[in-house]
Amino acid sequence: MKTIGNTHPSLVRLFATLLCGGFLAGCATAPEEGTPERAEFDEINDPIEPVNRAIFSFNQLADDVLIRPLALAYRGVTPSMIRRGVRNVLTNLSAPVTLANDLLQFKPDRALVTSGRFLLNTTVGVGGLFDVATNWGLEGHREDFGQTLAVWGYHEGPYLMLPLLGPSNPRDASGLVVDSFMDPWGYFIPGDYALVRPLVSGLDERERVLDPLDEIERASLDFYATLRSLYRQRRADEIRDGRPSPVIPIPSITIEDFEDDSEQITLVN
């Protein structure tokens, strides 16, 4: 599997040293090479976990103080029809980027669907306000450059918690940057489109996940770790375009042999 790590290992080592040198206390101590602890450490793939957790705490604070209250207020003052309209317009505006990435991933059938949806929803759907395309059988999807990089064979790299933006990794973060350049609207629409749209999008998204996120947090013993796992599985699902995931082997245990030591449980990510 291609990674920057494989093609330019010395570059990665330099980067890692700089990163770790810069945040001396921020690098998690890697266990001894060759131990099962090390295998697990490599599998969790979160070498700057202390830094990430610190950023996560900051994000949680910002969320408690500002973002969540805003999202609640948004939900409180707008009828759900308006919110749906906003979401539809935002989705429609993201069509060009999705289309570009459909093509870059060599998925012409999905590109056709994206184009069809965009045309239908912009015209019949009045500038994207109404998602008529779904009613007519064209289900939507989103593509981004991070997914494109994945399809091209790039591994995600270590876990990154971005300030305010949340869970990510080097590949997906690069994808965000590329997508913002690929987005055509910023070049046509006067004003601060490049600033306003992400803010509106962020508000819409935060409102949408208000209840599920609260529920996940309630049930978590370690919310940071849970989100990390959820993010990665979600990305993997998006990259697979919803196709079935690889099967995790789960050995059979009966009540009687619960005490049995001999079962080999394979650790599969």
Partner: protein, 206 residues
């Protein structure tokens, strides 16, 4: 003699009346994984719409349903992964007990929120030579349908759910990831303490 026969008649009558009540020993579908999942869904909806039941009572019944429908011990063992071998006998026993409480409580809570939504069973496919995947969809009024897949395993005469995947996200995989992280930082005792704490919080909130 008339008195004895009288008692016998009453006894029979009582038995007939009792068997007509909805009972927790209702027969569970045992040949078709898809029917089993449908049965789980129907039972959950029935609990949700129980007349005169408050949230506390409903949650109790969800817990029972989950205990019958899910392979809790297998899931517990899988979620702990390789740390099982490192755990002492006491730790294992406590973990098993705490995990059961944690899972039943967490998912009973969730069921109360989601049980009302109708889901549609799409198909059942063999996963490997042991399990079956039952693919379902929850239809939403605003938004695309939510994919929910149940991994079902047959043990002796009963079916049990081993894993639930929502939109490609495996619940037991997420759980294992979380527990792994806790154990890596605080050890198995750290995990047990967090589970105990969570149990205490649950009791407090009642």
């Amino acid at each position: 003699m008339p008195l004895r026969r009288c008692i016998a008649v009453i006894g029979v009558g009582l038995a007939v009346a009792l068997s007509a009540l909805p009972s927790d020993a209702a027969p569970v579908p045992s040949h078709d994984p898809a029917k089993f999942v449908k049965w789980l869904g129907d039972e959950a909806i029935a609990i949700l719409s129980t007349p005169n039941a408050n949230a506390e009572e409903r949650k109790e019944r969800y817990r029972d349903l989950l205990d019958r429908g899910f392979a809790v011990d297998t899931i517990a063992r899988f979620v702990l992964g390789r740390h099982w071998r490192a755990a002492t006998s006491e730790q294992r026993a406590e973990y098993r007990q705490l995990f059961r409480e944690f899972v039943l409580d967490t998912y009973a809570e969730r069921l109360d929120g989601y049980a009302g939504q109708t889901f549609e069973i799409l198909k059942a496919l063999p996963l490997d030579d042991i399990d079956t995947i039952v693919r379902t969809e929850i239809r939403q009024p605003d938004g695309p349908p939510i994919r929910v897949d149940y991994r079902v395993r047959q043990r002796r005469e009963a079916f049990k759910v081993i894993d639930v995947q929502v939109e490609g996200i495996s619940l037991i995989k997420t759980q294992r990831s979380e527990f792994n992280s806790i154990i890596a930082r605080d050890g198995i005792d750290g995990l047990l303490e967090l589970l105990r704490e969570h149990g205490r919080d649950v009791v407090k909130s009642k």
